[in-house]
């Protein structure tokens, strides 16, 4: 008796069945397209590439262990994001209090000066590829966790609201209000930073004359 070998590309469903049975090769193939976006999520949450890699891979391993219980009711990627979200939250709790930017609350009180038109253009350019861009990443990493989470998922990565709700385990309404507060917070920090930079530049000019 001779057996003939033939090749056949597995479908995602077939890979899922195999992964559920513990097959690491099938699992690795299944999650391959998710690796980069999941890492990006972790990186924007933590601001730290090594920590992001650890959290991301920890989450993927948890996914490997738990995939027997994955029912397919949600997308696999969403399920993995949720695991990573929880893994990150555990890390935040364990690592003790970071200092967060304060949640703005009612803003009409301490409002930075309104940026004039040219200043607005400089602001936009600075955000795209100037010093403000770094300040943006820093400010993001210092938002309170719940706000940081939704900004990364919505504004950085572009997930739909109901997906974000599923990943974070909150209602869509809560996601939207957190997002609005987070965006406002970032706006204040960055316009403040822009004004600061402009002042420093002006002072430098004066000094040079």
């Amino acid at each position: 008796m001779t057996a003939a070998a033939t090749t056949q590309d597995p479908t995602e469903r077939d890979l899922l069945d195999a992964a559920r049975a513990g097959d690491p090769d099938a699992f690795e193939r299944l999650i391959a397209p998710c690796q980069r976006p999941l890492y990006a999520y972790a990186l924007r949450l933590t601001g730290d590439p090594h920590l992001a890699e650890d959290l991301c891979q920890d989450a993927l391993l948890k996914g490997y262990r738990a995939i027997g219980g994955f029912t397919g009711n949600s997308a696999l990627a969403t399920w993995l994001y949720r695991i990573l979200h929880n893994t990150w939250l555990d890390h935040v709790k364990k690592s003790g209090r970071e200092t967060y930017l304060e949640d703005g609350g009612d803003e009409t009180a301490e409002e930075p000066p309104v940026l004039a038109r040219e200043a607005l253009v400089r602001f936009q350019e600075g955000l795209r590829d100037g010093e403000l861009k770094e300040r943006l990443a820093e400010a993001l990493a210092r938002l309170p966790p719940a706000m940081r989470d939704v900004v990364v998922l919505r504004d950085v990565q572009g997930h739909a609201y109901d997906e974000i709700a599923e990943i974070t385990g909150t209602a869509v309404g809560t996601v939207k209000s957190r997002l609005a507060r987070a965006r406002e917070q970032l706006r204040r920090v960055l316009t403040g930073a822009a004004a600061g930079l402009a002042e420093a530049a002006a002072a430098e000019d004066v000094r040079k004359r």
Binding site: A3, R13, D17, A21, A40, L43, R183
Partner: protein
Amino acid sequence: MDLSCSSVRERLSGHLERALTPPEREAVSRHLAGCPACDAALAETRAVVGALSDLDRVQLPEGFSQRFSARLRAEAAARPALEAAPRAARRPWWAGWFTLTGWPVRGLAGAAAAVLLYFAFYAVAPEMPGGVVTQGARGGATPVNYVGLGGEATVRIWFEAREDVEGVKFTLELPPGVRMVQDGKVVESPSLTWEGSLKAGRNLIPLRVRGVASGQWTVTASVEKDGSRKERSYDLRVDGA
């Protein structure tokens, strides 16, 4: 409606995403037309949101996939079993990669010219009768896979070949408590041999076994070609009734 600045600020996000009701959108637009501060805030928010999307240009660090792959294999080796899905009625994904037909034969036809062969044996834990098994965390160094007395399991054996190769001899050595099942019937022999071929890359052979006597057993599979032989063992416990 006339909105205050603070009401407008609360609605800026919704306004940006065109998620406000028409009357709200109308009221916000009206306010913005007459309020430079809020108008600027909208433009600034739009700029910040736009810049945030640029932050998604992240690449995986070099070596990330390889490092993960290594961790995954280590995890798989230490804990080969997970909760197995209930037996699927459909064809498994590996079906067709290597098919065993008929009964195993002893002896081997003459081998062709020597071919480099790399063989890795990876066995996945069995399903309990009824379909689902959970890998128990045991105190010992090596987690053990188990099947109930009289229960059956599918053991999957990996072979990795550098190129297509024919005339490969596979041998399965079964302990007294474990027997192979083929076409629903127990195969009595404890030592089974097949001749087969491997495709370049990964080949996967599923083998159905049954626990026929309780105890802690070891199953050994080996692959041989032109005198080059590799073997691997797989622990299996059969739980007494």
